[in-house]
């Protein structure tokens, strides 16, 4: 399942995207997230899934635009810490933050 946590508003798409089929619930992303917005637990969107999965905490889903911004996810020289820590390429970010990154370098 592709789980998109976040929102869309007039300024762009702000989603942290998890490919849950690839996730084994190891929790490495949770450890490295500087804003502590990630967690590992049962899959709330697939009740029949065996084993844990990583997700964005419930209270953080409406704030990802701001909490993910310091990492410049996906568009800096290095991948975001969460994406870099994952050996299965589970985590990606939508294009909203790309505009932020460009703006800060123009």
């Amino acid at each position: 399942m592709i789980a998109n946590y976040g929102f869309q508003d007039g300024s762009g798409n702000w989603y942290v995207i998890f490919d849950t089929e690839k996730c084994n619930g190891c929790g490495k992303c949770v450890e490295v997230c500087p804003e502590k917005i990630l967690a590992v637990g049962p899959d709330e969107f697939d009740i029949f899934r065996e084993g844990p999965v990583a997700f964005v905490k419930h209270d953080e889903r409406k704030k990802v635009r701001y909490s993910c911004a310091p990492c410049k996810p996906g568009f800096g020289e290095k991948p975001a810490p969460c994406a870099g820590a994952c050996e299965f390429n589970v985590i990606a970010h939508s294009d909203g933050w790309m505009a932020c990154f460009k703006d800060s370098h123009q």
Binding site: M1, I2, A3, N4, F7, Q8, D9, E44, D46, I47
Partner: protein, 311 residues
């Protein structure tokens, strides 16, 4: 003290309930129910061996537990089935953790996906749930399993609640907005913002200019359709495409969305032909609660849940 003036409330849509005359619940093995407590409406669906038995569709009050109880009582009203006879109850929706009779809660995304699969059939690939306070676009497989989802719950712009506020503002009952918005000779430019507050002031401006009501309704419906389209385009729409939730009943929004997307929504009829033939009511708002009730049945059958039946 002066009496409060009696005003007509144009947003008040009628509550409905129904019980299936063809099913004797006493002969059923597993009686499961789903309660979907949304921000605007609450539905309770009862299923006997995964067959549609009864439903109640009510407006959500100021607190979730009472709304859930009200919805469930309303569903049971026309039946001699009691709450104690129900094997398993699952709560879903915005207030799912506050459903007192529920043994478990499941997110509305899973439930709407499963419910749409049951109501419209296994060919459904994209479900758009237009709720009272948020909208969700979901891609599903032939078993109703979620493959990809995206929600927009940042604010209530362009959702059911927004439509209710709009109905009150222009003094047209909420269920008339769809048909009347289509009675325009030419499509007017859309309201520039779906934000309820901004749209409200824009509509007041249009009313003052003497723009005909039907044109304002058309302008609002197309703004709403446009907002949904942005979300759907990001996710990717595949046929069969269905809309669940209250806005699916507003043809003004649905028709305009179909036009913008270039894809028709599936006809609002039961996949099970005998349901249509027997005249069972089809209500797009029930998808969430229905999905929850089906999950209850599946969990009991798999042995992943234990019956909580008291009588």
């Amino acid at each position: 003290m002066a009496e409060a003036p009696k005003t007509q409330e144009f947003w008040r849509w009628p509550e409905t309930n129904w019980v299936n005359p063809d099913i004797d619940w006493k002969k059923g093995k597993l009686i499961t129910s789903g309660v979907d407590v949304g921000s605007v409406s609450t539905q309770a669906v009862i299923m006997v061996d995964a067959e549609f038995y009864a439903f109640g569709n009510t407006r959500t009050g100021s607190d979730s537990p009472n709304s859930a109880i009200k919805g469930m009582d309303y569903a049971l009203e026309k039946s001699d089935l009691k709450l104690e006879n129900i094997d398993y109850c699952i709560g879903t929706g915005y207030g799912r953790v506050n459903v007192p009779m529920a043994q478990q809660s499941i997110t509305e995304i899973s439930c709407h996906a499963r419910g749409a699969n049951y109501m419209y059939g296994p060919e459904v690939r994209t479900v758009m749930d237009m709720g009272g306070q948020d909208c969700k676009a979901i891609n599903i497989d032939d078993r109703g399993k979620v493959l990809n989802f995206m929600m927009n719950d940042k604010c209530a712009a362009g959702t059911g609640r927004g439509m209710e506020v709009f109905a009150d503002l222009i003094h047209v009952p909420v269920w008339e907005i769809g048909p009347r918005s289509l009675q325009v000779p030419k499509e007017p430019p859309m309201i520039s913002s779906t934000c309820v507050v901004f749209a409200k002031s824009e509509v007041v401006g249009l009313l003052e200019q003497g723009v005909p009501e039907s044109e304002i309704m058309a302008a609002y419906c197309s703004a709403m359709a446009h907002r949904i389209m942005e979300l759907l385009n990001r996710l990717g729409v595949k046929e069969k495409f269905v809309i669940t939730g209250g806005i699916a009943k507003n043809e003004g929004v649905v028709k305009r969305l179909e036009k913008e997307l270039g894809i028709k929504t599936a006809e609002q009829i039961w996949y099970k032909k005998e349901y249509t033939d027997r005249g069972y009511p089809f209500d797009t708002q029930l998808a969430g609660a229905m999905g929850a009730a089906i999950f209850g049945n599946t969990l009991l059958k798999m042995g992943k849940a234990k019956s909580a039946r008291k009588a």
